[in-house]
Amino acid sequence: MSRQTDSQSTTKTRPVPPTLSVITEGSPLSFVNPDGTLTADGEAHGIDIELTRGLYREMLLARTLDREALSLQRQGELNLWLMCLGQEAAQIGSVAALLPSDMIFPSYREHAVALYRGVTPAELLVQWRGLAHSGWDPRKYNLQMAALVLGTHTLHATGYAVGARMEQTDEVVAAYFGDGATSQGDVNEAFNWASAGSLPVLFICQNNQWAISTPTSVQSGGQIFRRAAAFGMPTWFVDGNDVLAVHAATTAAAAHIRLNGGPALIEAETYRMAGHSSSDDPTRYRSDEELESWARRDPLTRIEKLLRLMETPESFFAELDESAERLGAEVRDACRNLEPTELADLFGNVYAEPHDSLEAERRSYQESARALAGVNR
């Protein structure tokens, strides 16, 4: 009988069923050690060198974008930036294992995912320069806009998956979110809904240990992948700094979904190496030691080491550096050349159908703007 679950003991004078431990510590799936050598699982799985190079390349480009964007923010060219430094493996490993036709619902930190999907630097930065709330057409990249209200988009993904199931496609609908977001009601409603309806949703949780200044220990009392499992879906717990392990787990999860139709979850254990955003000062709440210990598990370094162990020619790295440099320049140019936004143009974005009173407001705004322009001239 497994009706009672926990490893802790209970006081009782009479026999009631013993506790059963389900909350044991599991170590995450990992293929590549921080020094570039393979783990036993990595050996068993085997390494695809072309795939590895491709993933490394994407991670490096994502890191370049992230660095350039932060520096643009520091120069006052962007209002805000949410750094993905340290999370490149979790993002690239997962997105690369999906099909381009799989719709993705990202949160606000998935710049590596967006770049991988082909979103241009201009489309990416326009939001953070304060010119728009979103920069790209979701249908063009099968990538929805960033969700800033935590966890809300997991329900959108779930609804989108209802359609996918009804149409009997073999699509996977992916939703990215953080450890903090899992405390929101919406995320749990989505877990439940997707499981009850056996919907093709792939939940991808990047557990980067922090929600701004709140550590996972304050956030929840159990592990996220176990919680999702108990909602009724298979889950994978993976070293989120190991791009190959993330890729393999995502491949397995996506295949499971395509075959069986129900949802799945990947918990990628990773670390937010930078502050929460360009406005945040993480030294107020976390230690240098913690940061250093994670720096030693950097997702790029270990793959670079692996590639060197596997005798990747120097030319690969040199070409990649050049690409990165080109991307950096492109990011800087794109940012500075973004067109200004006119408030008058935004009135038409609110409603799809004519709206008399908003139209009247637009006219009065334009008249007064014109009048003021006259006064100030």
Binding site: A132, H133, S134, D137, P138, Q144, M145, V149, T152, T154, L155, H156, A157, T158, G159, Y160, A161, V162, G163, A164, M166, G185, D186, E189, A190, N192, W193, A196, L346, G348, N349, V350, Y351, A352, E353, H355, D356, S357, L358
Partner: protein, 323 residues
């Protein structure tokens, strides 16, 4: 033309929308097998299948959130919220997501979603089952808010709401669900036009949903006393059909707004403010409001004293006439 109850008219309207457009999907708690606690969706699951008349888990945020996902895929979901007081768990999805989605997307993505809400009191229900919360949604840019009062409007407005490419909050007056009326084959107006039910040269009553019948009864009573009192059925709460209201104000010079929501920041406040601004010199008395007191909906046994009654409306007309 045929005679139907308001519930029947909604049912017929939904059926027609579903038959006309297979992207229309109904979803909500207990709407499938049971046909909804008010039977508005009765028989539709049998006709259109369980994929299109969906019994959902018990989670309002989930209902609206997944409807958004469906709409992103091209569907036109119609969500039922079981009772007015249970819409609040979905408030974030409605106000931050549904309402703002098109603006956030730079006009790229529209969400043609209808949220049906049985609204208001008068049926002797327990707490949370008699609320009037249209102000919250009417104050929210990006939404459209409408309120039907008769079977005919119910039949046509639900179809128009479903056809709208914008999100529509669709209010259904619970205590008029079983009232019968004639339903015409064609609608004579679009979703966002008010309807003048009665012209009046002394005063104009403005109502929507459940209070339209109250206003009409008050106007009749006033007529017996020799006053010419008009009645406007708003039908649309956001956007308001101001030009109709202005026309009537110009004629009568006196306006009384009647609704079940609290008067404090109820739609009567907006109407008073807007009409006072546009018809400043035509008003012979201030725009008056008859609505709920600033308290939560009371227990059922005192709801008759709480709801805007013919007597309270007549007192307001009196007050306006003697201002």
């Amino acid at each position: 033309m045929s005679t139907m109850s308001l519930v029947g008219a909604l049912n017929a309207g939904l059926r027609k929308s579903m038959a006309d457009d297979d992207r229309v999907i109904l979803m909500g708690e207990d709407i499938g097998t049971l046909g909804g606690v008010f039977r508005v969706t009765a028989g539709l699951r049998e006709e259109f299948g369980a994929d299109r008349v969906v019994d959902t888990p018990l989670a309002e945020s989930g209902i609206v959130g997944t409807a958004i996902g469906l709409a992103l895929r091209g569907y036109r979901p119609v969500c039922e919220i079981q009772f007015d007081g249970f819409v609040y768990p979905a408030f974030d999805q409605i106000v931050s997501q549904l309402a703002k989605f098109r603006a956030r997307s730079g006009g790229r993505v529209s969400l043609p979603i209808v949220i049906r809400i049985p609204v208001g009191g008068g049926i002797g229900a327990v707490e949370h089952h008699s609320e009037s919360n249209e102000s919250y949604f009417a104050h929210t840019a990006g939404l459209r808010v409408v309120s039907c009062a008769t079977p005919d409007d119910a039949f046509h407005m639900i179809q128009q709401a479903i056809q709208s490419d914008d999100p529509v909050i669709f209010y259904e007056p619970k205590r008029r669900y079983w009232d019968k009326g004639e339903v015409l084959d064609q609608s004579d107006r679009n979703l966002h036009e008010a309807r003048v039910l009665r012209e009046g040269s002394d005063c104009t009553l403005v109502a929507h949903g459940p209070t339209v019948a109250t206003a009409l009864a008050a106007a009749l009573a006033a007529a017996e006393d020799g006053f010419s009192v008009g009645v406007v059925d708003l039908r649309t709460i956001s956007p308001l059909d101001l030009s109709t209201l202005e026309e009537q104000t110009m004629t009568s010079g006196r306006v009384v707004v009647v609704h079940e929501a609290s008067t404090f920041l109820g739609i009567g406040a907006e109407i008073a403010a807007a009409i006072s601004e546009s018809c400043f010199y035509s008003l012979r008395s201030p725009v008056l409001r008859v609505g709920a007191f600033n308290m939560p909906y009371p227990p059922a046994k005192v709801e008759d004293a709480f709801l805007p009654s013919v007597d309270r409306v007549l007192a307001a007309v009196d007050h306006a006439m003697n201002y």
